[in-house]
Symmetry: C2
Subunit: 417 residues, 2 copies
């Protein structure tokens, strides 16, 4: 029999109103109990995870895929830690953001409330189940979890642990819903249920995200690719520039906040480029540059094409371009970039502020590596992902972004004339 | 030849980056100059408006539609006033909402920036052209205006005035784009251009809004219907209750923040209902009630059906229900309401706070009429409309909601370990 997606969404919606009355204490106790249970049930989790790994091997998943699927002792402890971290964050629900008084005596405020029902559609990594689940519990949202079919046994056992913790601490377990099927059509069904689901968050490859964006009737918070830049201004401190560019490219090239294009001001290129190229050479970074870049090392630097300026390599490959001005760098970033994370290296105050204001990206840096764009590193606790959208939230989506201010109005009998 | 929607959207996107460098002074001068021009060119505006009115009469538009289309001296002065009001609001762009320092010395902040390109699709009332245009100018957004075909001459002349003011004050006039066609397919084309348009806001009837929500590839901020409630608690002050209920229903029944259902606690019904029914009778309000409501005046109060609890009458009709508890009232509102504006009348502190926390609506009132839900009345200046969505903004959408915080990060050479 087909899995009843609509029933699950309807239950989530109904329970979402009950969540408005759940105290912070109950939510935190639920998270802490889930952390304990995850540690206590490590053998069970590993046994269920093994089923997924064996099925994955039979299906011929790549080594990288299997590694992302794996739950070992370290990763299980990591999930328990996430639960404890989220419990320790302050509760955004009920926070009054602003409050003012109108001439007629009405006191009007904006108070943070949960979004309602949050659906998360994600691939492979089963720890997303715990990260997303814990953030939704803490923000009083009902959550509908739809993980990848390759992780279904791992995800199911983790959901059951969250539900067990909820029941033991008085948090409504129906608020944690799991689409327990590997049927592909379940996702499409879910995306049509805008009467029950308030927002959907896809996490995974570009194909998944595009599918969700094109089929969802409810708002989508998206996390597209990262084509991040570092611009070395003519007023850059050379030591900082070498360190930052090297770190942004090499420290972990496979992630969305790694640098994919380096822009260098023509007036600093002679001083900057030779050492930078040597550093990248040693780290085996393939360079693809414009003619001026290639002039520093024509044998090593390959010619860049127009496509390279748009590319998200997620690998030890870097596009490099020499520009004649700050304005040209900003234009390049706004035109070719993905509006994710971009940095300037400069000691010049005016140029720093201009870059900050004119670069249209979710995170804009002065004199630091783009690699810092991350909910944990920013101090937001866990994150649901990184939004490159322009509404609701830009950048890492933390606990606060799982809420929305509503208006609260205190009167003493006011009527409208 | 077909109107080139894509070209318009592309120009808007390109100019949106330039707007990041425009000062508040230039924006305010543009708005004030547009106010002057609108007053100076009143004859021209009225002449163009007359073309629309004549065409509308020939097409057989209703009196109400023709009235909404009309631009007379009072309404033209009103538009000039909106421009001056928006100029006087403080600029949300560049506001740093928060700033904190991380252990590694990074200073991380959230700074408000424009959304980018905002498309507005609206019906009949041509003054929306000026309201939406002025809010987008002040918030440094490029705007794409698509008004109804019945108002095309009125809208065109108003857009040209905004553009003239822009050019004279150094604001890029390409930031104000007008879909100058009555072809229906232009809207559908616009809704597919998510590479250029960051957000679309439909304003009009439910049909238009559903069409936009189902066809748009970019985020939509929606303004659905208002099924608003007033709950008269058993601890209500009777005078306040009568005044508020009467005002919420009668003062202007045709708008989205008027009361459509009145809920009354059973323990106060005997004291409250007879006078309330008399007041509504005098104002010719048709009442549709449950059995207990009908018992107070079986001849006047018609029986309510399940459909009445969902109804947005926009007329002198009111559904009435007697409930046994605060909880029952809250359940009714969350189940049947439209999550727009709902009020409790009570002198009891605990009940007031419970209602405030548990009613899941964009605006929740204690002891005041729901009729106050409005950007101007709330003190936000002009509004783009009222959002009943759960992301980005709930309730009146003012200037601030046309911006979104991005992350800004100040370092001194930090790299990620």
């Amino acid at each position: 029999m087909a899995f009843d997606v609509e029933r699950v969404a309807k239950i989530a919606k109904e329970v979402s109103y009950k969540l408005l009355g759940i105290s912070t204490e109950v939510k935190d106790r639920t998270l802490l109990r889930a952390a304990e249970l995850i540690e206590e049930k490590r053998d069970l989790i590993e046994a269920e995870n093994r089923k997924d790994l064996i099925a994955g091997e039979e299906k011929g998943l790549s080594k990288a895929m299997l590694d992302r699927l794996l739950l070992n002792e370290k990763r299980i402890k990591g999930m328990a830690q996430v639960l404890r971290d989220v419990a320790s964050l302050s509760d955004p629900v009920g926070e009054v953001v602003k409050m003012w008084t109108r001439p007629n005596g009405l006191r009007i405020g904006k108070m943070r409330v949960p979004l309602g029902v949050v659906a998360i559609i994600y691939e492979s990594r089963p720890n997303v189940t715990v990260e997303a689940g814990s953030l939704c519990i803490k923000s009083s949202n009902a959550v509908i979890l739809k993980g990848g079919s390759e992780a279904i046994n791992s995800n199911r056992v983790l959901v059951n642990i969250l539900k067990e913790a909820a029941t033991s601490e008085g948090f409504p377990e129906e608020a944690i819903q799991f689409i327990d099927t590997t049927e592909r059509k379940a996702v499409k069904e879910l995306l049509l249920l805008d009467q029950y689901v308030d927002v959907v968050i896809p996490r995974g490859g570009e194909g998944l995200i595009r599918f969700v964006a094109e089929n969802a009737r409810m708002p989508v918070i998206k996390h597209y690719k990262g084509v991040c830049h570092v611009f070395v201004d003519k007023f850059a401190d050379l030591e900082k520039a070498w360190n930052i560019c090297f770190n942004a490219k090499v420290q972990r090239p496979g992630v969305c906040n790694a640098m994919e294009t380096m822009l260098v001001h023509a007036e600093i290129a002679d001083a900057f480029m030779p050492t930078m190229i040597e550093l990248f050479k040693k780290a085996k970074v393939e360079l693809r540059g414009d003619d001026r870049t290639r002039s520093y090392d024509p044998d090593y630097v390959k010619p860049a094409t127009e496509e390279d300026w748009y590319a998200e390599y997620l690998d030890l490959i870097l596009a490099v371009r020499i520009v004649d001005s700050l304005e040209e760098a900003i234009d390049h970033i706004n035109t070719y970039g993905s509006h994710h994370s971009d940095a300037i290296v400069t000691e010049n105050y005016t140029n720093a502020m201009k870059f900050l204001n004119l670069v249209d990206s979710a995170a804009v840096y002065v004199n630091a590596s783009t690699r810092f764009t991350d909910g944990n590193v920013f101090g937001l606790g866990a994150e649901m992902g990184i939004s490159t959208d322009k509404v609701h939230v830009r950048g890492p989506m933390g606990l606060e972004d799982l809420t929305i201010p509503k208006y609260i109005i205190f009167g003493n009998g006011q009527i409208r004339e």
